[in-house]
Each structure stands twice: as C-alpha cells, then as structure tokens.
Amino acid sequence: MNREEFIERLKTIVAKYAQNKEALAGINEETDFINDLKINSANLVDVVLDIEEEFDIVIDNESMEKMLNVKVALDIIEQKLQEK
C-alpha cells in the first residue's frame, strides 16, 4: 500500500474527531492532529484505538507519545505492519 492510500484510510478515521473540516479536506503528511485538525486531546486516544483496529496492530505508549501528526502516524503504522 502506498502513502496516499494510507492517508485516505487515516483520513476516514480522523474525520470522526476533526473539528476543522477545511484542514481535514486538505489533509497531508504535515497535518497536525491537534493544531490543524483541532482534534480534542482526549479524542487522540480514540484515533490511536481506531488505528489499532483498522490496521490490526498494537501501538505501544512510546509510539503513541509521538503521534501528533499524519507523517509520524503513517511511519508508525508502516513500522508496526512490518513487524507483524
């Protein structure tokens, strides 16, 4: 799967929590979950749990710490999928 396809799947997940729909429409690797999409910090956990379910992976706390933007989230998803 290429990065664009990953971004599309991630976009579907974050769409449930993103308050800034404009930023959501223009989502790219540089998009920040909190600063750009205005996802409530308590909902970041939901994003992580949804990613775990969608990709059937486990995201450890060390990885979650860094998951503040699309690029890092994609890197972590790819890494966890390779480890499977």
Binding site: S41, A42, V45, L49, E52, M64, E65, M67
Partner: protein
C-alpha cells in the same frame, strides 16, 4: 507558571466513551484506574484526573517547548476531593506539579503550578466561548465545549 484546563462534562459525554475497550489503559496508570473504579461517580473521576494531567502538561510543554502525547507518564497522586473542590499532585518526569480543581456539575476545571503558593495566588475566570479575552492577557487559556477558562497570576 500556571496551567489551566477545563472539561465541559456535557461535551465530554458526547465526544468520549471512556468505557471503550482499551481507552483507560492508554490514559491512566493502574493506581488511577483504581481511583476511577472505586469513585462514587466514575465519570467525574475520569475527567478530574484528565484535567489534572492536561493542566500539568501545559506548564511542562511551555517550559520545555516539547510536545508529546504521553498521558500515562503524567502520574496523578494525592487526589483529595472535598465537596466541590479537589486537590492533588501530578508528576511528569522530573517535574512535580500541584493541582487545585473545581468540580462544578457542568464542568471540571483544574489549575496546576510548581508551587502551592502560586495556586493560591492564581485567579481563574470561566466565561462563555466567544468572550473577547485577548486584551486581558491571561497566562494560560483552556477551551472545551461551551467554556473558556482563563488563568491569571495575581
């Protein structure tokens, strides 16, 4: 330095299902989860602990300039609830923060500081969402749902 956080309880109930599988494990330590499990109102304890972590994190991230999402590393302790008020402590790495919270039926707001004295001297205002607050120069701002919480240092 003061950190402030407000949780609109109505908004939190709409937005977050903390009973979701795996949710509490990613946010709260075993000791914190015990507090939630044994609290008379689990809902209130969840958002009290969360606002404690958030208010302490705000000070830390301003001091260090670093961002991260590590709720488990923000460790709450000494949580004492007395009527509509609560106090506690949050440890985050090397940092130790004191917290004071107001438990309103519609919201929970917490202020954090590195010293108990600074908490005493803090002035917190809670307003509606569209208040023009920029000129009042607050030290820290928190917005959630219907509320804005502004913290001032006296």
């Amino acid at each position: 330095m003061i950190g402030v956080d407000i949780v609109d309880l109505q908004q939190a109930r709409l937005d977050s299902n903390w009973r979701r599988k795996g949710y509490l494990d990613k946010l709260f330590t075993a000791a914190e989860q015990l507090l939630i499990a044994t609290a008379p109102e689990a809902d209130v304890m969840v958002w009290l602990l969360w606002s404690m972590k958030e208010s302490a994190y705000k000070i830390d991230s301003r001091k260090t300039g670093l961002r991260s999402f590590a709720p488990i590393k923000l460790v709450c302790s000494k949580v004492v609830i007395d009527g509509q008020s609560a106090t506690g402590m949050v440890r985050y790495g090397e940092g130790l923060y004191y917290t004071q919270s107001e438990l309103h039926q519609d919201y929970i707001r917490t202020i954090a500081s590195g010293t108990p004295a600074a908490l005493q001297n803090a002035d917190v205002k809670i307003t509606g969402l569209f208040a023009d607050y920029k000129n009042s120069n607050p030290q820290c701002v928190s917005h959630h749902g219907r509320y804005l919480a502004l913290a001032f240092k006296c």
